[in-house]
Amino acid sequence: MTKKKMQPVVNLAWCKACGLCIAFCPRDVFTAAADGRPLVTRPDACIACGLCDYRCPDFAITLAENKVGV
């Protein structure tokens, strides 16, 4: 049985580039793009703690199953 692997998905239409997800991710999954919005650059490091989702003031981050990376 393969283990479910979760990773953050950013809804760029709702994101306002506050940078909270980037700053407070315990595993540095995100990197800031030029406009300050987060790019998921280290999906494999994600431990699916959900804190980026909970802290995102704009409801722009959800955790979804990574179907390709496992």
């Binding site: 479910k4 979760m6 239409a13 709702w14 306002k16 580039a17 506050c18 940078g19 909270l20 700053a23 407070f24 699916a48 703690c49 959900g50 804190l51 989702d53 909970y54 802290r55 995102c56 003031p57 704009d58 409801f59 722009a60 959800t62 955790l63």
Partner: protein, 474 residues
């Protein structure tokens, strides 16, 4: 930990993106509230979200609960009314600090005093954000704002202490950084049957942060992270050491009677008392309603004709019959001779709005009142004109009866002042809506002794006149 919550089910996605600034704590707190509600397992249609005015006022608009935005500072007052009407709705208030403790300070105190079952989530961002970053009572000492450029020399208010002192039974504080604690504390408030306050200290990066050397939203969340101290640790610290700290956790929890439960008990007691002392509550067969269920009655004329009292007596008689009644009165500027109007709603079920729209029954005791109100009566309704004063009968779709009510009261009964009760007697027969027995009970209670018998005589005389009017008509 994987996230089982399907957040999108709780959002009105058409409203997004939010109108809040980048990094605003409101979104974080709304999410924490949704997580707590989801944890309770409540159907979202059983939840009512209430807000006042300010940036925070948008919060319920983003959540797919029953929601209402109220006037500034009055959210707790509105929520109290709604909770009384629908005690089963889980009522959550999403308030700003201004709404809660400044403009709405007194409602907050009295909500806590009553211990009414509301959960108040205070999104305290230390500032009046929407209006441009002025100081609020929660602005910390010596912090800058647009109205205190050299620092706020006042001490900030501690709304949790006020809630505890006023009698709230669950009081907690957290910050927008501590998201998991936030959801747990809000859940605690939802579980508490009584007045619960959860203060969430939040950043306002735009209004507060930029004036206080927080260069980025992230810097504000770092401040919240570092300033927070748990209530257990805080116990061992001196007030000096606690300065500039944010004490988080459950600050107070107690148990005492809840307002709505107590209200229901008292209501039951009052009903039993009324039953044991009340006289006949039964309807006469011929009085079974012509307008089943719901009807609106307008009694109109001039001041001094006793229409307000007639409205009150009509309402009380209705209630005696086990129905619901609502009464509104409007008196002109002059005590006597001005226009006067008394409006009663009679209903088998609940009365949502006490204002009448198109009456089923109209009594007009002056020409002016007849001219003004006859056309507004429902076509299937009834109009009674006092032909002592109404000489010209306005055209109206409703069935119109005329009788010289005041003249009969003056000449036959010997006192024009009983015209109001006489008219009630006539209406009782014409409408078939009211028990004369119930009216008699009320008249007996309401009218001074020296004219009591005369009024009761007038009531039954009216009833007989009503019979004649109906027969003549047939």
């Amino acid at each position: 930990m994987a996230n089982d919550l399907r957040l999108e089910e709780y959002l009105r996605e058409r409203e997004f993106p939010t109108m809040w600034c980048a990094g605003c704590g409101h979104g974080v707190t709304v999410k924490g509230t949704i997580r707590a509600i989801a944890k309770m397992g409540w159907d979202k249609d059983d939840v009512l979200a209430v807000a006042g005015i300010g940036c925070s006022a948008r919060a319920p608009a983003y959540c797919d609960f029953n929601s209402i935005q109220t006037t500034h500072g009055r959210a707790i007052a509105f929520a109290t009314g709604m909770k009384m009407h629908r005690p089963n709705l889980h009522t959550v208030l999403l308030l700003g600090d201004g709404d809660c403790i400044a403009i709405g300070g007194n409602h907050f105190i009295h909500g806590a005093k009553r211990n009414i079952d509301l959960t108040v989530v205070v999104m305290n961002n230390s500032i009046y954000g929407m209006t441009g970053g002025q100081i609020s009572p929660t602005t910390p000492h010596m912090c800058n704002s647009s109205t205190t450029p050299f620092g706020n020399f006042e001490e900030q208010i501690n709304l949790c202490d006020i809630a505890i002192a006023a009698g709230a039974t669950y009081v907690a504080r957290t910050t927008a950084y501590h998201v998991n604690q936030m959801a747990a504390l809000i859940e605690g408030g939802l579980r508490n049957k009584g007045f619960s306050v959860i203060e969430v200290v939040e950043p306002c990066p735009t209004g507060f942060g930029r004036k206080n050397e927080f260069k980025t939203p992230v810097a504000m969340y770092e401040w919240l992270r570092d300033a927070a101290i748990s209530v257990d640790k805080a116990r061992d610290l001196s007030p000096q050491e606690l300065k500039n700290k944010i004490v988080t956790g459950v600050l107070h929890q107690s148990s005492r009677p809840e307002f709505i439960t107590e209200y229901a008990k008292m209501s039951k007691k009052a009903q039993e008392r009324a039953k044991s002392t009340g006289a006949s509550l039964e309807l006469m067969p011929e009085e079974m309603g012509k307008f089943p269920g719901y009807s609106e009655v307008r009694l109109s004329g001039s001041g001094g004709q006793g229409l307000v009292l007639a409205g009150i007596m009509l309402s009380e008689a209705t209630i005696k019959q086990g129905k619901n009644a609502a009464h509104l009165q409007s008196i002109g500027p002059e005590a006597r001779g001005g226009t006067s109007r008394s409006e009663v709603i009679i209903s088998d079920g609940e009365i949502i709005n006490p204002k009448i729209t198109a009456p089923h029954v109209l009594l007009a005791m002056t020409q002016e009142a007849a001219d003004k109100y006859c056309s507004g009566v429902k076509p299937e309704g009834i109009i009674l004109l006092d032909s002592t004063f109404v000489k010209e009968v306005p055209t109206a779709a409703a069935k119109t009866y005329q009788y010289p009510v005041t003249e009969f009261a003056r000449d036959t009964l010997g006192n024009p002042l009983v015209a109001n009760v006489l008219a009630l007697g006539i209406l009782a027969r014409l409408t078939g809506k009211l028990s004369v027995n119930a009216l008699e009970d009320v008249v007996r209670k309401r009218v001074p002794q020296r004219v009591r018998e005369l009024n009761i005589k007038a009531l039954w005389a009216g009833y007989e006149i009503g019979k004649d009017l109906v027969q003549t008509d047939a």
